[in-house]
């Protein structure tokens, strides 16, 4: 066993301002093994990978490769030591050919020997069973093939450790199968593969061993065959913060009497399968399921953020048409997006401007909010939500994650929505702020606002929601309320049928 060890990471620590992202994590990879690294958002798996690939420098701990202690200064350094990474986003050049992408940046001499490279590339592609021609433009290949080319490049660089970071999120079933065949092929050649994913079935299909992280700490390392799926989910999601579970006081079932505020029938979008959904006035419900299960896509469809392709939507029984975000906003719907940096904040604008933005859009182009009015709004919400900022004119990009999130919450609260969708509002922020946001959600519901709440942490949802819609593989697989609304049941439904036995 000991001889077989390829890579060992011991007591890895990584600190970010205000957060301990990795707290003494151990990780061991053996030769010829596919090792799944699991954890929900903020568990620390991407930080661990970034430490290993030299994107981040660790603050403490030790890495040994092949028995030798190593330090990794940069991604290039990691590559030259035999640690290669293939990311979800392709880090190749789409405008070059497949062969060039495999050899550029590491060839000798001034000349590019296209013929030789293409021949060698074809050999490698054939050996690994990758369905691509070496003279093809990479951008013309499917994403799966592009990913495989990246893997082929890594393999040809004599990599010992291959990290696959969410490689399957944008692949279809057939492509995933192709990728797994390739992974097994490499495994038999003695390469150690770290497989980061959030698809449980895939983990069980291909991996030998599983390491679970949660909140920057190691939960444990398990043999895949000895860890039932439902236990894995439990380990990933955890059972902590129990002392807060008394947050919700409203008795179950009361919401039934209130009128339905919003309803979607067979709603589908470019990214979401058709689904039915409704929410009552003052109800808090939620979409749950693992990352990539389609929970975000559903709420994006409700808000008109993706191209709506079918179905009908109703507000208080009256049909409405939502094709663009502004339509949803005019109908009283607010949406806090999952990706705060990309879809939420306008980083260089001030806290004040970020807060009034949505209200401003709803007021219209010709009715700007006056300076004094906007300052009053900003002051009010900075106080109400306890936003920690130097001043209301500070660029929002310089705030901490939690405070940025509060600014966006303030933005939507200011529009006084009847229905507020919060997609991962507690992601990547500190525990105190998480709790504040949960309290706020319940208070909003008391005031008659309907809220849809999405979170990777099931306790949070159990504490706030009175009804949960469970999703797996882009389909609604269950709806839980009342008695069924407990952790065990949620996990069973998420993990799927076979785990119940």
């Amino acid at each position: 066993m000991q001889d077989n060890t390829l890579l060992q990471m011991r007591h890895i620590e990584k600190r970010f301002p205000g957060v301990l992202a990795l707290n003494g994590v151990d990780f061991t990879l053996r030769k010829g093994e596919i090792h799944a690294l699991m954890g929900e958002n903020g568990a620390g798996k991407s930080t661990l990978i970034k430490v290993l690939t030299g994107v981040y420098q660790m603050d403490g701990g030790q890495i040994t490769l092949d028995g030798k202690s190593i330090t990794i200064h940069s991604p290039q350094d990691a590559q030259s030591q035999g640690i290669s990474t293939v990311y979800q986003e392709i880090t190749l050049c789409p405008n070059l050919t497949v062969a060039e992408n495999m050899f550029i940046g590491r060839e000798d001499g001034a000349w590019v020997r296209h013929k030789l490279y293409e021949k060698r590339a074809d050999e490698i592609l054939a050996k690994l069973g990758i369905p691509a021609r070496s003279s093809q433009q990479l951008g013309d290949c499917s994403l799966a093939v592009q990913q495989m080319v990246a893997i082929a490049r890594a393999v040809d660089q004599k990599c010992k450790v291959l990290i696959l970071d969410e490689p399957t999120s944008s692949l279809d079933d057939k492509e995933v199968k192709m990728l797994f065949d390739l992974m097994r092929n490499l495994k038999s050649q003695g390469v150690g593969i770290i497989f980061v994913t959030h698809f449980l079935e895939q983990v069980y299909e291909v991996s030998d061993r599983i390491t679970v992280l949660r909140n920057g700490e190691l939960v444990g390392e398990y043999l895949t065959e000895q860890l039932p799926q439902v236990e894995l989910v439990a380990k990933m999601i955890g059972k902590e913060l129990d002392e807060l579970s008394s947050l919700k006081e409203a008795p179950e079932g009361e919401e039934e009497e209130k009128e339905v505020f919003y309803e979607a029938k067979n709603l589908s979008s470019s990214d979401a399968m058709p689904f039915n959904f409704s929410i009552r006035k003052g109800e808090v419900n939620g979409f749950t399921g693992l990352l990539g299960s389609g929970r975000s896509e559903c709420v994006r469809a409700i808000f008109g953020a993706d191209k709506v392709t079918g179905g009908s939507t109703f507000i208080k029984g009256k049909q409405i048409s939502v094709t663009r975000p502004i339509d949803a906003m005019k109908s009283g719907i607010g949406y806090l997006a999952e990706d705060r940096k990309r879809d939420g904040i306008i980083a260089e604008l001030s806290v004040r401007e970020n807060i009034i933005l949505a209200l401003q859009v709803m007021n219209g182009f010709f009715k700007p909010i006056s300076r004094s009015e906007s300052e009053a709004f900003a002051d009010e919400y900075i106080k109400v939500l306890n936003i920690k900022t130097a001043s209301k004119e500070t660029p929002v990009g310089s705030l901490s994650g939690g405070n940025q999130q509060k600014v966006i919450l303030a933005r939507w609260l200011l529009t006084h929505p009847d229905y507020l969708i919060l997609d991962e509002p507690t992601r990547g922020i500190d525990v105190g702020t998480k709790l504040e946001i949960q309290k706020l959600v319940l208070k909003l519901a008391e005031d008659g606002v309907s809220v849809t709440f999405i979170s990777s942490e099931v306790e949070e949802m159990l504490r706030t929601c009175s009804r949960l819609i469970v999703m797996r593989d882009r389909h609604v697989v269950g709806e839980l309320k009342g008695q069924d609304l407990n952790q065990e049941q949620v996990m069973k439904t998420i993990a799927g049928g076979e785990a119940q036995g």
Binding site: P325, Y335, R342, D343, I345, E348, L349, E353, V361, P368
Partner: protein
């Protein structure tokens, strides 16, 4: 005290620091060179009006078209993250339209001038909309999209007037280009003031500013907040079109003729420079119109200073280039970072020695 200086450089003036320092340096340089450089005289012009004269007046007057164009260009830059290089050519078209309407009237009176200006505006806005459509709808980078009009704009201007360079002589036009009887300030300066006020009003009575910045900084987030990015981009080009029409009409009025080849020649480059010197990122996003206006006056003051030093009008460019390079090097992120590190070191040393002293 220390804290004050820090906030003065970092937060107090922000992006206006560099253009203001540039102006201060130029003023200082001129005062040392010739203490009387900025004297304002009062003279009678050819029409017998009492008018202001002097280098300062000619700087402020001469920068008028540039300042107006820079205001519009700032909006386009902020919304689209690129620049319109066809403003000079479009101004020639607008100017030609202006002259064409005036020429076709039997007699030039106030009404005709207004009509001519409105026509110039409409034409320039149409060309702006053309550029804007390429950028906003077809998603072509602004510089490439506007290269089309840059290539053929001046020829279109030539075509409008049938291959002639007609002159117009009318007291109204000369009043527009130089002085209105009884007012000692040059008319173009007054027009700049009006346009600035118009922009202020535009920002005050519409949400253009925050919408434009949102689109420029984070288009995806702007869209999810219900902003129509295509419309904002198109609008910025149409507003620039109005600025182009005003600048073109001023240019024509100054000379009393339209010359499609020389009217506002190379102004696009100066305009982009004015925006950049004003501390606005050419990559779009946050902007300050005031920065661009100051940028325009920096460029004009530099030009006038060089003229006063007997540098010929064609040679000015070489010196201008040196000053530009100096300005952008000071503003470069790498230099800023290096300078910041140096300051930290110095501060560390000072603290060390202070500790030793104690």
């Amino acid at each position: 005290m220390k804290k004050n200086t820090k906030s003065f450089f970092q937060g107090g003036l922000g992006q206006l620091t560099i253009p203001l320092i540039a102006i201060a340096l130029l003023v200082l340089f001129n005062l040392i060179r010739d203490p009387g450089f900025f004297e304002i005289g009062i003279t009678h012009n050819n029409d017998g009006n009492i008018v202001l004269a002097g280098n300062l007046i000619s700087i402020i007057n001469g920068a008028s078209e540039l300042a107006i164009l820079a205001m519009g260009m700032t909006l386009v830059t902020a919304a689209c993250g690129g620049q319109d290089i066809s403003v000079g050519a479009a101004a020639a078209i607008a100017g030609s339209t202006f002259v064409k309407i005036l020429k076709s009237a039997p007699e030039i009176n106030g009404g005709i001038v207004v009509l001519a200006f409105l026509c110039a505006c409409i034409v320039a806005m149409l060309f702006g909309a053309f550029n804007g459509t390429l950028v906003a709808v077809f998603k072509i980078q602004p510089m490439i999209a506007t290269l089309i009009l840059y290539t053929c704009g001046r020829s279109i201007a030539y075509w409008i007037n049938g291959g002639a360079t007609p002159t117009i002589s009318s007291p109204i036009i000369s009043a527009l280009g130089s002085f209105i009887p009884g007012i000692p300030v040059p008319t173009p300066v007054l027009i700049v003031v009006c346009v600035t006020i118009l922009f202020k009003l535009l920002f005050h009575f519409t949400s253009l500013e925050i919408f434009t910045q949102s689109v420029g900084i984070n288009q995806s987030a702007a869209r999810l907040n219900g902003i129509n990015a295509t419309f904002i981009k198109l609008l910025s080009f149409i507003i620039l079109g109005v600025c182009v029409a005003i600048a073109g009409s001023i240019g024509v009025s100054r000379l009393g003729l339209i010359n499609h080849e020389t009217l506002l020649i190379d102004v696009e480059m100066d305009t982009i420079l004015a925006v950049a010197i004003g501390g606005n990122s050419l990559g779009g996003g946050k902007f300050k119109i005031s920065g661009s206006i100051i940028g325009a006056y920096v460029i004009q003051m530099l030009t006038t200073t060089l003229y006063a030093m007997k540098v010929s009008s064609t040679d000015v460019k070489a010196y201008k280039a040196i000053v530009i390079v100096l300005l952008v090097v000071i503003g470069s992120p790498v230099i800023k970072a290096k300078f910041g590190k140096l300051m930290e070191k110095v501060r560390g040393r000072m603290q060390e020695s202070a500790a030793k002293g104690a």
